[in-house]
Amino acid sequence: MSIYTMGIDVGSTASKCVIMKDGKDIVAKSLVAVGTGTSGPARAIAEVLENAKMSREQMDFVLATGYGRNSLDGLADMQMSELSCHAKGATYLFPDVRTVIDIGGQDVKVIEIENGMMKNFVMNDKCAAGTGRFLDVMARVLEVRVEDLGDLGDKSTKEIGISSTCTVFAESEVISQLAVGTDKCDIIAGIHRSVAGRVSGLCNRVGVRDRVVMTGGVAQNHGIVKALVDQLQHEIFTSPLTQYNGALGASLFAYQKALKKQQ
């Protein structure tokens, strides 16, 4: 009989769920654009179950991860850190991965992987610079949608430096650039380089080994990925499933736990 497992990733800005069959096939997934402390997690769970046409009771094991992993009273059988789950998810997507860069809503993590297991990791300090939240703030100031940042940055023709590493100061730097009539696309490309500069510092602390995989919502922004490739001088792989990567890893760990439970 097949084993069905659910992984829930309750992030700071989005809630993601993945249901898998026998730890191999993705049966259904869901994403709600609000995270912990909101209706997001419950909605994401309801949605993924609906997509799979299944019920919670049919799940053999449910594992939660992410910033709000402890807030799912009774909904999950277990919780694990998003670090291990991202390592697991990335290994599923790219079996020979050695370095995972995950830029989430308020965290940046760089994970060193050996034989599919997390060996070491580095995370950002107590500062939002270089995170998804930083990009949200910038998109708001520039009056563009965060998902359009990548395409807009491609149109840049002039190199503008956003030197501040602090979100608040960078915001005022962007406002100053807008005030002097700098093209939005050039500013956006500058923002991408600024984020990449900060993230590459963390990468170098762990040590970058090929294959490098980028996960998390920000990996959908090809401007950031390109800026990071330029800084690190390593090819970076992404997948359309990057934003689900934490939930995917959680679902894979849930499968291992379900197998153990059966024994």
């Binding site: 910033y67 850190s81 670090l83 291990s84 997390m118 060996k119």
Partner: protein
């Protein structure tokens, strides 16, 4: 049931309490009381029978009592930048006369209770009592405390005492200052500063000396670029010891007492040896104690290492631990599953939050750098100068790595948890490189978290918990390899 405290721990607590009480008494009797940095050669002050208080220990205590933030803010109000060390800010605010106090009504002279304070009220079955009106747990009135406010000792002392009402008000305001020992230390008559422990110390103590208009006795220890301390460096420090002795002679009007000095050295050496003995018990697997306790016992190493009572108390603790080994018991309140080195000073205001995920995951701290850093023994004044040259922030990275990797190997750690302490730039600055070395040389995972030794505003519990969990999962993966 109340937690059983071993005779050794009780003895160590008493030693520190006595140091504070003796200083208060000395001040009352009109004797000189000094303030000293933690690794100033206490042997010199002991030779003159001087009572000395330790601002670092005081600040840690104030922070642990949750008054770090109000005192740090008081220092910021005085103009000190919030980027400087939290201990320094607390100490400078205190030196300026600022005190954390309890709010009261000046008319009735009754404390004003903070309704948000206190623990939840429990019924006879141990269940939390819910307030039917609010739907929230009721507070146990016995555990509720007054609001904390900032007061100023100089302002209090300047109050008039012409009427009975004025006298009563003044006395009550004096008494309203928080009653724990670290908030009640006497103002200094002189300061002893040795900057081996950190380079912010120099300006911190210069400020206290200027603020209180008192003498500063300074021993400067330059950063050591080599593992060995050169003879010329020893000469430089030795000459400063001689100058300090001369200054202390002038200050006290007494001659340097060689016998008392030698006795203090004997006690300091014995304290160091017994401290190391206690630290070495963490090599046992499982360890007979929670290594986090070492941070508490540092109070004795700092405030009383030149006293016989401290040496005896550590001896007693070593004896307790030996018993634990024989009986297979431990003071660790959970089974030890993982062993880590905790790098840096704890976040004193957030100690329970710091401990919680460690407890939940069965992580015991079995190594701290204070063990080798304060376990130094010497035979004469020159050797003493050499010993004081080596402190965590005055040694080169190679020595720093060797100290830590030595203790990690001996105490069999599975991982390293690094506190990137906003208060301590010299310490945190080289940790990124050290982390890399630990992983490369010892093959163990490391996790770093942001925090602060005294200012709670710099710590985020959710971030910390994720990093601890990540470290545990990485240690797990490492064990399976």
């Amino acid at each position: 049931m109340a937690k059983q405290v071993s005779p050794g721990v009780l003895a160590l607590r008493k030693v520190v309490d006595d140091v504070y009480a003796d200083a208060r008494e000395a001040k009352k009797q009109g004797k000189l009381v000094g303030w000293s940095s933690s690794k100033f050669p206490c042997e010199l002050a002991e030779a003159f029978d001087l009572n000395v208080m330790y601002p670092e220990n005081q600040a840690a205590g104030i922070a642990a009592q949750r008054d770090g933030e109000i005192m740090c803010q008081a220092a910021e109000d005085l103009g000190f930048d919030n980027d400087i060390c939290g201990y320094a800010r607390i100490s400078l605010a205190y030196a300026a006369g600022k005190r954390a106090s309890r709010k009261f009504d000046p008319e009735t002279l009754e404390f004003i209770i903070d309704p948000k304070s206190g623990k939840p009220l429990k019924d006879e079955n141990g269940n939390v009592v819910i307030d039917p009106e609010t739907g929230k747990p009721k507070k146990d009135p016995k555990t509720q405390v007054p609001y904390t406010v900032l007061d100023d000792i100089h302002e209090i002392e300047a109050l008039p005492e012409t009427t009975e009402k004025e006298i009563a008000y003044k006395n009550f305001r004096r008494e309203a200052i928080k009653p724990y020992k670290q908030m009640r230390i006497p103002q200094p008559d002189f300061v002893l500063c040795c900057n081996n422990i950190c380079n912010c110390m120099t300006k911190w103590y210069e400020n206290i000396a200027r603020m209180c208009n008192i003498p500063l006795i300074m021993v400067d220890i330059p950063y050591n670029n080599t593992i060995e301390v050169s003879d010329s460096a020893v000469k430089y420090v030795r000459a400063q010891f001689d100058a300090a002795i001369h200054q202390l002679e002038e200050l006290t009007g007494k001659k340097f007492d060689e016998e008392k000095f030698e006795l203090a050295c004997k006690h300091a050496n014995r304290t160091a040896q017994n401290w190391l003995k206690v630290c070495d018990y963490l090599q046992y697997k499982p360890a007979p104690m929670s290594g986090f306790d070492l941070f508490n016992h540092m109070a004795d190493v700092v405030t009383a290492r030149g006293k016989e009572a401290a040496a005896d108390a550590f001896d007693l603790l070593a004896h307790d631990l030996e018993q634990n080994i024989k009986e297979g018991t431990s003071t660790l309140p959970f089974p030890e599953k993982y062993r880590v080195m905790f790098e840096g000073i704890p976040c004193w205001p957030k100690l329970p939050n710091l401990f919680k995920p460690l407890k939940e995951n069965g992580v015991n701290v079995t190594a701290v750098v204070y063990a080798p850093a304060f376990g130094f023994v010497y035979n004469n004044m020159d050797e003493m100068a050499r010993a004081y040259y080596k402190a965590p922030n005055s040694v080169c990275i190679e020595q720093g790595v060797a100290w830590r990797e030595g203790i990690c190997r001996d105490n069999k750690v599975d991982g390293v948890l690094v506190h990137y302490n906003r208060s301590c730039k010299p310490w945190s600055g080289y940790m990124a490189e050290m982390q890399r070395r630990f992983t490369k040389d010892l093959g163990v995972p490391c996790a770093g978290f942001d925090g602060d030794q005294a200012d709670p505003r710099n710590f985020n519990e959710a971030q910390y918990t994720t990093r601890v969990q990540g470290l545990v999962e990485a240690m797990d993966a490492n064990k399976k390899d």
